[in-house]
């Protein structure tokens, strides 16, 4: 049971971080369907730190990995910013392209790196068994992961920034009514860029967190299994509000955790449900949840609509 709790919390942390990323982007008025891709690139950033600096002391390691993931995530989110904000491209196409590009680019890059190090190694994976230990602290039977703390800090920061600061007020105005924001002298393009870049921070963090809790070695040709989209479902069910998103993330985290640990839980194992069902479960649940909540959605009103200063 403790294991289930631990997995629930850690998967919820991933979903929370990524969903908060989507939340910032959408509050600024840009739909970020490329979160999946940002996760992949962010995770690559963190994994590279672990691969090239495996000997860092634990605390430094945690910080360095986090920074690596953030840096990569932010850099990658620029692709969305340029296309969606400056060139008014279709945000759906760009997001989709970013997801495909991330996996392809990560694969090509990691393979090239592996082959360069060892001509016989044509895999697209990075392993990080040792560095991973820096992130874990045993508390009794419970394995605390630094990312749980990161997620909580991320949540508090998101809440404070959105609701208590000048920046948050302006950001949300840009997603709701950019013309109104513009008329009081707010630079809508800048705010939207800020929203997208912040989603890069959160997305990158979520990415590295995801691969580190799922395995000790990641094959980058596999992407992140639709987790970016699950996070979007979490965001929608959370009605674009950080606190509600956190609760939803816990719910979704539970279903994802079941897939990992059901065989260790007596009564679930005895039910003899094929593992496929558990694998499908998060996706099915999110479909049901979306069906129930999308009708009365309170999405930012101007999201997905490119802002054009000329059109008034």
């Amino acid at each position: 049971m403790l294991l289930l709790l631990q997995y629930t919390i850690i998967f919820a942390s991933v979903l929370l971080l990524v969903a908060l990323g989507g939340c910032f982007s959408e509050h600024s008025g840009v739909i970020n369907l490329g979160l999946e891709g940002i996760m992949v690139i962010g995770s690559l950033g963190g994994a590279l730190v672990m691969r090239f600096f495996p000997g860092l002391p634990p605390f430094v390691m945690v910080i360095a990995v986090i920074l690596g993931a953030i840096l990569f995530g932010v850099a990658y989110s620029c692709l969305l910013g340029v296309a969606a904000i400056n060139f008014k491209a279709d945000q759906t196409i760009v997001g989709t392209a970013m997801n495909m590009l991330a996996t392809a680019a990560a694969t090509v890059f990691v393979k090239a790196m592996n082959t360069a190090a060892n001509p016989n190694d044509v895999s697209a994976s990075i392993q990080y068994i040792e560095p991973k230990k820096s992130f874990l602290i045993k508390i009794g039977g419970f394995e605390f992961n630094w990312f749980m703390l990161v997620a909580i800090v991320g949540l508090v920061v998101a809440y404070v920034v959105l609701y208590k600061t000048r920046f948050g007020l302006r950001l949300m105005a840009c997603g709701e009514h950019p013309q109104a924001a513009d008329s009081v002298g707010i630079n809508v393009y800048k705010m939207r860029w800020a929203g997208v870049l912040i989603s890069g921070v959160y997305g990158g963090l979520g990415g590295i967190c995801y691969i580190m809790v799922s395995a000790s070695e990641w094959k980058f040709d596999a992407g992140v299994y639709g987790f970016g989209f699950l996070a979007l479902a979490v965001m929608i069910f959370g009605q674009w509000k950080p606190t509600r998103i956190a609760l939803t993330a816990l719910l979704f985290g539970l279903f994802r955790a079941l897939a990992s640990v059901y065989s260790g839980i007596g009564f679930l194992a005895r039910l003899n449900i094929p593992s496929t069902v558990y694998n499908m479960l998060p996706y099915i649940i999110s479909l049901v949840v979306l069906a129930l909540t999308s009708k009365s959605s309170r999405a930012p009103k101007a999201e997905g609509i490119p802002y054009d200063k000329g059109q008034r």
Binding site: T165, L169, A180
Partner: protein, 511 residues
């Protein structure tokens, strides 16, 4: 040297591709005066104000503030110069509170963290001083349009603006709210604020403005003292000829009942209260019935219920004696109902379709235009060409012009041609003249009367008082989802109409 003028716009010229929106226009606003800017739709008022507000850069001309030349490159510059504007379409974030909207852009903060306390105190003081009575913690989406407008006024006052621009501020208000606004404007002027008041409503200008500048088709016509002129003279300046505002029509001869609505109720999307509540009325052949009322009192939902865009939650509708309460839209349309929709871009047209494809939007499935599932392009072209000719719809490339590329007036004409040519028994026309110039308005009013004279039933929904008084044979006033009065346009006055529209007066209406 003491300057007489707060703002001077001298010889402003602003061109757009294909049009000179402002041609050598001069406007001088004295300190502490209320100055009206009068002109029809498309006369160049909005462009001129956008220039003043820094949204456009003029090709020629200078702007002076207190006698000193200034360059206004964006709204921030305008703001720094103390210029504020209440836009026609409010620039308010609906899910924010009144206070958040007021401080947006000039938020009091410590290291980026909002300090709303002092802002609240200032807003309350201003609200008190000018008698605005707003609740700073209410959400914009929950308050009335009048209150939203006051929020916009507070936005300007909070920024200590000295020059206040009101763009068509009365269009959305009840006559009583308009009176209150006039008082507020006079208070503001008395406190030394200079006010620019954009309008095409002569009575309001005569009532509140000190001076009035008139534009016509992008050109400067003149500036006059309102004390020494008349509404008629202003009107002649505005349109360049003496327009017959009155619609010529013979007395109506109502025939059989075409539309019979009984106890119609439509649920509201956002609120618990019904948008349309227990409404009954009839429309007969050969009469124009007008639904009047302030925007947002259930007219839109009434039309949606009638035309099938929204389901009814109660009541029945009969069209030509047949019950169509639950009929799908297509059956209502083929059963004799035509609908000129309120929003031509949202409902009336497929903007990325050609004009000819839009012309058959209600009829493409008829055998004339479809055979064995394939479109009969030749017939569609011929039909569109006939309508274009007959209704004088102008466009760049005729039937193959994209609807998006057409002017608003011609888009509306295309819709009217399509809907009238269906030869309906009932024509539902919702704000058919919105945003059009005088010529197009006259044309459309004539078409409505012609339909009536041809024995059709016409249901007109209008927010324009002039239209309400002139066009119909019978007026039904809606207030908060109910019909509160039936008036005879020949016997009533605008004042009486206003009382009904504001809910201050109501009768039990039996149609």
């Amino acid at each position: 040297m003491d300057q007489q003028y707060a703002i001077e716009m001298l010889n402003i010229t602003k061109r757009f591709p294909g049009i000179i929106a402002n041609d050598n226009i001069t406007l001088q606003l004295k300190k502490g005066e209320i100055h009206a800017l009068l002109g029809e739709n498309g006369a160049g008022k909005s462009t001129l104000m956008s220039v003043l507000f820094g949204l456009y850069q003029p090709e020629e001309g200078v702007i002076k503030k207190d006698g000193v030349e200034v360059h206004i490159k964006d709204p921030n510059d305008a703001n720094r110069l103390g210029i504020g504007m209440v836009h026609q379409h409010f620039k308010l974030v609906e899910c924010f509170t009144v206070l958040d909207n007021i401080i947006l852009g000039v938020e009091p903060n410590k290291a980026g963290f909002l300090q709303k306390g002092e802002a609240r105190a200032k807003v309350m003081a201003l609200s008190e001083k000018y008698g605005l009575h707003v609740d700073p913690d209410a959400l914009i989406e929950d308050i009335t349009v009048g209150m939203q407008q006051r929020t916009e006024i507070l936005k300007m006052l909070y920024r200590d603006n000295e020059i206040l621009i009101f763009d068509e501020p009365t269009a959305v208000l009840t006559p009583q709210e308009i009176d209150e606004l006039m008082v507020i404007m006079k208070n503001l002027a008395a406190e030394g604020k200079s006010i620019l008041f954009i309008s095409h409503k002569l009575a309001e200008i005569m009532a509140v403005a000190d001076r009035c500048t008139v534009l016509r088709r992008g050109k400067y016509i003149g500036t006059v003292e309102t004390k020494s002129t008349t509404a008629e003279a202003l009107s002649a300046m505005m349109v360049g000829r003496n327009v017959n505002f009155h619609v010529e029509k013979k007395p109506s001869k109502p025939g059989d009942v075409i539309l019979d609505v009984k106890n119609m109720t439509v649920a509201s999307k956002g609120h618990k209260k019904n948008a349309v509540n227990d409404v009954s009325f009839k429309v007969r052949r050969g009469e124009i019935v007008c639904i009047a009322g302030i925007d947002g009192n259930g007219q839109t939902e009434l039309v949606y219920g009638l035309t099938g865009l929204e389901p009814l939650s109660g009541g029945t509708i009969e069209l030509c004696g047949k019950d169509i309460t639950k009929a799908p839209i297509r059956r209502r349309s083929t059963g004799g109902m035509s609908h000129i929709p309120e929003d031509r871009h949202k409902h009336g047209l497929v903007l990325d379709y050609t004009l000819e494809d839009n012309m058959v939007l209600q009829r493409y499935f008829e055998p004339e235009f479809t055979k064995m599932g394939f479109l009969r392009r030749k017939n569609i072209r011929a039909y569109a060409e006939r309508l274009i000719e007959q209704y004088d719809v102008r466009s760049g490339q005729g039937p193959v012009t994209m609807a998006r590329a057409m002017s608003g007036g011609n888009q509306q004409k295309a819709i009217i041609a399509r809907e009238i040519d269906k030869n309906p028994d009932l024509l539902v026309a919702v704000q058919p003249t919105r945003g059009l110039d005088v010529g197009a308005i006259e044309y459309i009013h004539k078409q409505l009367v012609a339909q009536r004279d041809a024995g059709k039933a016409v249901l007109l929904v209008s927010l324009e008082l002039d239209e309400v008084m002139d066009v119909p044979d019978r007026i039904l006033v809606m207030y908060e989802g109910e019909i509160v009065g039936q008036l005879d346009p020949k016997k009533t006055t605008q004042e009486e109409l206003g009382l009904y529209m504001a809910g201050a007066k109501r009768d039990e209406v039996i149609s």
